[in-house]
């Protein structure tokens, strides 16, 4: 089985010209086939963890290690990590003007699979995946994320998840900005990928909404750049009932 092992991860960002430590020793192990949730109030460092794993240049690793499938992830470039099987569904997907969704998807699939898919089967595959996620076929010719609504961006992220079929996926606030119907469509997409039984999934969220649609086995609570509590799905229920104060001290709302 594949595993993603994060050990004592420390991450800094530059803030007002000075380095600022955001992650202060994160430990997390995810096995292929498992689904984990990382929960925590806004600002606790969840997205920082996601970006640091993906290799975003704004996040400097100052300590610790990340090993995926026996390979040192931190030693790889952003695109090498993706080709090695890591996927990040972003909280704020980026607009890329002038690059069509179909060109983008085909380029990504070609890079990750190591060869260009045959054109005919590819079109069928792409259109099928779009239909599954209720993405209008006209989106194929639109610029990546440009003018997409919040919900459309999220569906487009999950579309990529389905087509790229990674070993590990980190989904950052995929539920935010989704109405009930869109949440259902997106969750079904994630569950289709999980049904293969091989992918390791990390759901990042500050609410329990998504966890009602996507069953998780492990819940980790992040606060001030550390995992401060861990448990099973009951932990999410506890958070839903009593909020985050029990882990963070008084005065913090989700």
């Amino acid at each position: 089985m594949t595993e993603l092992i994060i050990r004592d991860l420390h991450v800094e960002v530059e803030s007002d010209g000075a380095p600022k430590e955001i992650l202060r020793g994160v430990d997390l192990t995810v096995h292929g086939g498992q689904t984990h949730a990382i929960m925590g109030p806004n600002g606790s460092g969840k997205s920082t963890l996601a970006y640091a794993l993906a290799g975003h240049p704004a996040y400097t690793i100052t300590g610790g290690s990340v090993v995926m499938d026996g390979q040192d992830l931190l030693d790889m470039s952003v695109d090498e990590r993706a080709r090695a099987g890591l996927f990040l569904a972003m909280q704020y997907p980026v607009e890329v003007p002038g690059v069509s969704v179909s060109n983008f998807l085909r380029s990504a699939v070609t890079a990750v699979r190591g060869e260009a898919p045959a054109l005919r089967t590819w079109l069928k595959e792409m259109r099928g995946a779009m239909a599954d996620l209720h993405v209008d076929p006209s989106f194929a010719e639109r610029s990546v994320n440009e003018g997409f609504s919040g919900g459309e961006r999220k569906r487009h992220e999950i579309l990529q998840l389905e087509l790229l079929n990674p070993k590990f996926a980190v989904l950052d606030e995929t539920d935010s900005g989704l109405d009930v119907d869109a949440l259902k469509v997106v969750s079904e997409g994630v569950n289709r990928v999980r049904a293969g039984g091989e992918i390791g999934v990390v759901l990042i969220t500050h609410t329990t909404r998504l966890l009602k649609q996507i069953p998780v086995e492990f819940v980790h609570v992040m606060w001030q750049g550390r995992i401060v509590a861990e448990g099973g799905p009951e932990l999410a229920e506890q958070i839903e009932a009593d909020g985050y104060e029990q882990f963070t001290g008084a005065g913090v709302a989700g």
Binding site: H56, S77, V78, G98, F104
Partner: protein, 369 residues
């Protein structure tokens, strides 16, 4: 904004650099073209002429009578004076030409100066595509006149694919007839220096001019593009889109977009935009939109201009999907140019230009233009 047009060279003294219109110009490179001197210099021509179009030489007098506009500056006045007549491309009235007319011009050295004059006339109701491409090396002062008659339609692409030591100054004079449609795309990729001025005039209501440009300046290259849209007819439209990418030490671009809406031009619809993408710390791009409105009755008028660095977030997004860095950069830059390139109807020319832009990025499989 200056709207002086004249065939009289005396109307245009040798520029000192203090004049507004020469302020940004690569004057040192252009200097040989300020001399009022005839020249034997010629470019080599290769043409592809679809059935029915006519290419012939005409006298200076005839060219003067038929041209879209008189010259706008010293170099264009000298080119008209010394070109020894002009080459006229006629698209007969009513004829339709889906296949492009191709005029390939090439030079073999920077001496002597070459004075050139080309006229393109699209007859009433006709439709055509013309690609004018420049290769090799030259010190070239080239006037191009484009007249699109009533109800006609022309797509005109001018590609500057010069070698890196060419110098090119030009006046692209365009005139749009009543209910006629003109789309021009000026693509400057090669040459040490280029200064290309385009004028747009209208002959009657309903004229539609789409003026696009794309440039990619590398280290040491200086490209200046100016457009002057002179709205003096009612209910016409103009849309000006220039996009530039620059990389390397001393890469320099200038865009000046003038739009003048005269009191007579009621119901005008106009928009102009210039955007520049700086790929590293070396280049500098100047961008000056000027919109002057002298009527109270416009249908719409606006302008925009922006110069920005390469967007690292876009690059990160593409790379996070496994796309290698070079390919991701190429996608972002081609994406930046997409609204100019997609406007080119002829697939052959569009894909050739995309390859040329990729080559500029240094990742293509062909020599840098």
């Amino acid at each position: 904004m200056s709207n002086l047009r004249s065939y009289d060279v005396a109307d245009f003294p040798v520029p000192t650099g203090r004049e507004e219109v020469w302020r940004f110009a690569p004057r040192t490179a252009l200097k040989p073209m300020f001399d009022d001197a005839p020249s034997e210099g010629h470019l080599q021509w290769e043409t592809v002429l679809p059935e029915g179009v006519v290419l012939r030489e005409i006298s200076t007098e005839e060219a003067t009578a038929r041209a879209a506009s008189a010259p706008v500056d010293r170099i264009s006045a000298l080119a008209a004076k010394h070109a020894g007549g002009a080459v006229l491309l006629e698209i007969p009235a009513g004829s339709q030409h889906p296949e492009p007319v191709v005029l390939d011009l090439s030079g073999t050295g920077r001496e002597p100066v070459v004075w050139g004059w080309i006229l393109i006339e699209v007859g009433e109701g006709a439709s055509a595509t013309v690609a004018l491409r420049h290769f090799g090396t030259a010190m070239y002062a080239g006037n191009v006149s484009v007249v699109v008659k009533e109800g006609a339609r022309l797509e005109f692409v001018s590609v500057q694919a010069w070698d890196d030591d060419a110098v090119h100054a030009g006046h692209l004079a365009t005139r749009v007839g009543r209910d006629a449609t003109l789309r021009t795309v000026v693509v400057t990729l090669g040459g040490e220096a280029a200064r290309l001025v385009q004028t747009v005039d209208y002959d009657g209501p309903g004229g539609d001019a789409d003026v696009r440009g794309l440039y990619f300046a590398d280290a040491g290259q200086r490209f200046e593009h100016r457009s002057f849209v002179n709205h003096d007819q009612p209910h016409c439209r103009s849309n000006v889109v220039f996009k530039g990418a620059l990389q390397g030490e001393g890469a320099r671009s200038v865009w000046v977009g003038d739009v003048l809406i005269q009191p007579s031009a009621v119901g005008t619809q106009t928009y102009e935009i210039n955007r520049n993408l700086l790929l590293d710390d070396g280049p500098r791009a100047d961008s000056v939109p000027n919109l002057e409105i002298l009527t109270g009755d416009v249908a719409g008028a606006g302008h925009a201009s922006a110069t920005g660095r390469f967007d690292e977030e876009q690059l990160f997004y593409l790379r996070s999907r496994g796309i290698p860095e070079e390919q991701a950069r190429r996608l972002v830059v081609l994406g930046f140019f997409a609204d100019v390139l997609d406007g080119i109807d002829v697939p052959m020319i569009r894909s050739e230009l995309m390859r040329a832009v990729e080559a500029e990025l240094g990742y293509g499989d062909q020599e840098s233009a």
